[in-house]
C-alpha cells in the first residue's frame, strides 16, 4: 500500500529566507508525486509534480521540489520565502498512472514571518 509522511506539522521561516517542507513516500512501483497548497477556507491548488525525468522539478509561484529515489523523498523548496506563501501544504503520491487513488500526507502548515 502507498503512504506519505510529512514529518513536520508546522514550519516557521523568516521572509526572504529559504524554505523546505519535507515529504517522504512509500509505493511499490514508480511514484507519481504531487505538491498542493491550500489557503484558508479554499480547496487545494496544484503546485508541481514529478512523473519522470529530471529530479528537480519547478512549479508555480517559484516553488521547486527534488525527487530523491534512494531516500524516497520529495521535499518542497523555495529560495526566498514570502509572507504570502503562508498556507497549508500537502504532498500526495500515486503508484504509477493507473494505480489506486492518490494518497495525501497530513499536511504541513507553513508560516512565513515578516
Amino acid at each position: 500500500a502507498q503512504s506519505v509522511a510529512q514529518p513536520e506539522d508546522q514550519v516557521n521561516v523568516a521572509e526572504g529566507n529559504p524554505l523546505t517542507v519535507k515529504c517522504t513516500y512509500s509505493v511499490s512501483g514508480n511514484p507519481y508525486l504531487f505538491w498542493y497548497v491550500q489557503y484558508p477556507n479554499r480547496g487545494l491548488q496544484f503546485l508541481l509534480k514529478y512523473i519522470t525525468g529530471d529530479n528537480l522539478v519547478k512549479g508555480s509561484y517559484g516553488f521547486e521540489a527534488e525527487f530523491n529515489k534512494s531516500q524516497t523523498s520529495f521535499h518542497l523548496k523555495k529560495p526566498s520565502a514570502l509572507v504570502s506563501d503562508s498556507a497549508l501544504y500537502f504532498c500526495a503520491v500515486r503508484d504509477g498512472p493507473y494505480g489506486q487513488n492518490f494518497v495525501f500526507g497530513p499536511g504541513t502548515r507553513l508560516s512565513v514571518l515578516p
Partner: protein, 112 residues
C-alpha cells in the same frame, strides 16, 4: 479556465437531516472524488467514481452515499447528518494517467 464547482461554501444543518453536497466539473474528467478534511487528519477519501453510475468506497464511507448520474456531476449524500460529520468537504476530479486532481473550493458543513 477549468473548474470544479461545489454548490455551497458554507452549510448549517440539523442532526438527522438528509444533506446533499453537489459537485460539478466542466473538464470532461472520468474520475471524481469526495474527501473530508479535518485538522490533524489531513484528507480522507469518502467515495470515488471512475465512470457514470459507478462508485467505489474510500477509506471512510460509513454514513455517506454518492450518486453519479451524469459524467460531470458527483453528489455526496449524508443520509442522516450527525455532529461528527461536521467538517470541510472537498470534491476533486481527474483524468487517467499523469494528471493530478483539480479541487473544488470546498464546503464547510456544520451539523448542529
Amino acid at each position: 479556465d477549468v473548474k470544479v464547482t461545489q454548490s455551497s461554501r458554507y452549510l448549517v444543518k440539523r442532526t438527522g437531516e438528509k444533506v446533499f453536497l453537489e459537485c460539478v466539473q466542466d473538464m470532461d474528467h472520468e474520475n471524481m472524488f469526495w474527501y473530508r478534511q479535518d485538522p490533524g487528519l489531513g484528507l480522507r477519501l469518502i467515495y470515488f467514481s471512475y465512470d457514470v453510475k459507478m462508485k467505489e468506497k474510500g477509506d471512510i464511507p460509513e454514513g455517506y452515499s454518492v450518486s453519479r448520474e451524469k459524467k460531470e456531476r458527483f453528489s455526496l449524500i449524508l443520509e442522516s447528518a450527525s455532529t461528527n460529520q461536521t467538517s470541510m468537504y472537498l470534491c476533486a476530479s481527474s483524468l487517467w494517467g499523469v494528471y493530478g486532481y483539480t479541487f473544488g473550493s470546498g464546503t464547510r458543513l456544520t451539523v448542529v
